[in-house]
Symmetry: C2
């Protein structure tokens, strides 16, 4: 499965011990890339050494924070491609500790980008943006031209970070791409809490035979991508010339209601129950209503299309956690 | 000239020793408000004790930075209205020192807003936004619905700051208004450098008998407001119920080309010459083309309309600096 672009390519993945990063790294290693991983292993997020167990002897892992300029610079030397995935990732925490979100997602992103300009100005950078940058939608499906008016501090700062990268990339001649990721689920996601990654969290609740709360009617539409499809999008974004300077939405093409997603998890796990409850205040504050993505731009320019149905993705997800539960359930 | 709303009203003005802040304070004092001033007197910006000379015994001046949470809290106790004008204000510096811009305009704004929530949750806040939040215009005149895609880090962070205030204001029940200010000129602006406030800087060059550089043809349209009109908009935004939760553009209604503005300065100053030069690279990078504002929203909701013509504003500006040159020319 070698690929002439990725074979021997020096690649840095930030947040590489987390969900998106580790799945991406497994593919990069298959493709023959020379991977360096930078991860701060911040306790609240998804970093987990077990995520990279299958390739632990084939990648270089550096423990460090994107806010540590000297550490970052040492990792960036000689890189040709950077997948920049590290960040504060909890919507809820961004509202209770907005200064931490600013510190990581504004200051940290800028420190990281300035280091890229200094150490590897000819490298390409793929930035992990988020559907949270749009906030409550004015129309669906949401395309990349939709105004951005985030409903939480996380969304505001991820938007600012994306703009830093695209603006400075354009002005200083660095090739930047941003993928605005929607709800993604699958193996290697943290299963310790439900502050983000709600689908994975519900898989845990179901597997534990617990009640899965559905707020209100659960009729809001969601657009879930299986992790392998998101990994494929990152690989295309890191390789294809057409991606330079662009932002792309990801999406699944088959949005489901929140309640339907919960029903499918309970059915496929064969355990757990559904519990309809009123909206909790902290969630209501940041709930954005229906989210359906228009991903025709990445389909047109990069030829990306999601492959996994929700049924297929859930099957693989549940199977993974059945096998490796011990590595994810513990705090 | 007492006014029942402002009479005895406890008001905090951040950046109150600078251009916008000091002119606003002179009016607030006339209206009978009880004014506290918070200013960090950062050396590169427009803070100048002489700006408040006429009211120095009628206001309380606190030297402090919006990034200093304890200092901020001590100033916010008991306030009923906050005009939050302090910030990093140079487009050019935001590109050469983006981390400083993030520190002041992201982190500092959040520290300030969290302190407001703690100390004066019932106060109203008026945030000084900027036309720079829009970036290069997709259409003119620009209304408040125009997408925001700033051309410099300053614009990105002022946008993020505005979104922090509006979002948290809405969620935590604080009354926030943002005025997106366009190019403003007049008395009490710093005259030490031309990094921002180019019209004032050109007034200095003309008064000094120097050459006023016009980049290229100078055909880009600009929308200049005289300071007294901007002050009037702040006073309305701080008083009127209709302003709560809203953003408003300011504008002059009579855009002129950059070259015409320069010609008028030279003519009215009676000195200085025009020097046509190619665009310098650092300016070209952040030049956004024509800027013409649609200010019909503030006209409709608050009854604001600019009163001063460019000729009238320039007359008053030149007269002020002729009288008080010694307080502004020196470093």
């Amino acid at each position: 499965m070698q690929n002439s672009y990725y074979a021997d390519l020096p690649v840095l993945v930030t947040g590489g011990l987390g969900f998106l990063g580790s799945n991406l790294i497994l593919e990069l290693v298959k493709l023959g890339a020379r991977v360096t991983v930078l991860d701060a292993m911040l306790p609240l997020y998804g970093g987990n050494f077990f995520n990279l167990e299958p390739v632990k002897n084939q990648v270089k892992v550096v423990l460090g924070d994107i806010r540590d300029g000297e550490k970052v610079k040492s990792c960036l030397k000689g890189q040709k491609l950077v997948f920049h995935i590290a960040g504060q990732t909890s919507h809820v925490d961004s509202m209770t500790d907005p200064l931490l979100d600013i510190d990581i997602n504004c200051r940290g992103n800028m420190i990281f980008f300035l280091a890229c300009l200094e150490e590897c100005p000819d490298a390409r950078i793929v930035y992990a943006g988020t559907r949270g940058q749009y906030g409550k939608l004015k129309y669906t499906p949401v395309d990349e031209e939709h105004p951005m008016d985030p409903s939480d501090i996380y969304g505001i700062n991820k938007m600012a970070g994306e703009k830093y990268f695209l603006l400075l990339g354009q002005k200083r001649g660095m090739a930047v791409t941003s993928l605005r990721i929607n709800n993604t689920y699958g193996p290697r996601h943290q299963m310790k809490h439900g502050k983000y990654g709600i689908l994975n969290w519900f898989v845990r609740l179901a597997m534990d035979g617990q009640a899965l709360p559905v707020f209100g009617e659960g009729s809001q539409l969601r657009d879930y991508n299986y992790i392998d499809d998101v990994t494929a999008a990152f690989l295309l974004a890191g390789e294809r010339e057409e991606a330079i300077g662009e932002v792309f939405n990801l999406g699944c093409g088959e949005p489901v209601t929140f309640r339907r997603m919960v029903e499918m998890i309970v059915a496929q796990a064969g355990s757990g129950t559904i519990n309809t409850v009123p909206w909790p205040e902290e969630r209501k504050q940041i709930e954005v209503g229906d989210y359906v993505a228009d991903f025709s731009k990445i389909e047109r320019l990069l030829g990306w299309r999601p492959q996994a149905s929700l049924t297929q993705g859930l099957d693989k997800t549940i199977a993974y956690y059945r096998q490796y539960k011990e590595h994810y359930w513990a705090g």
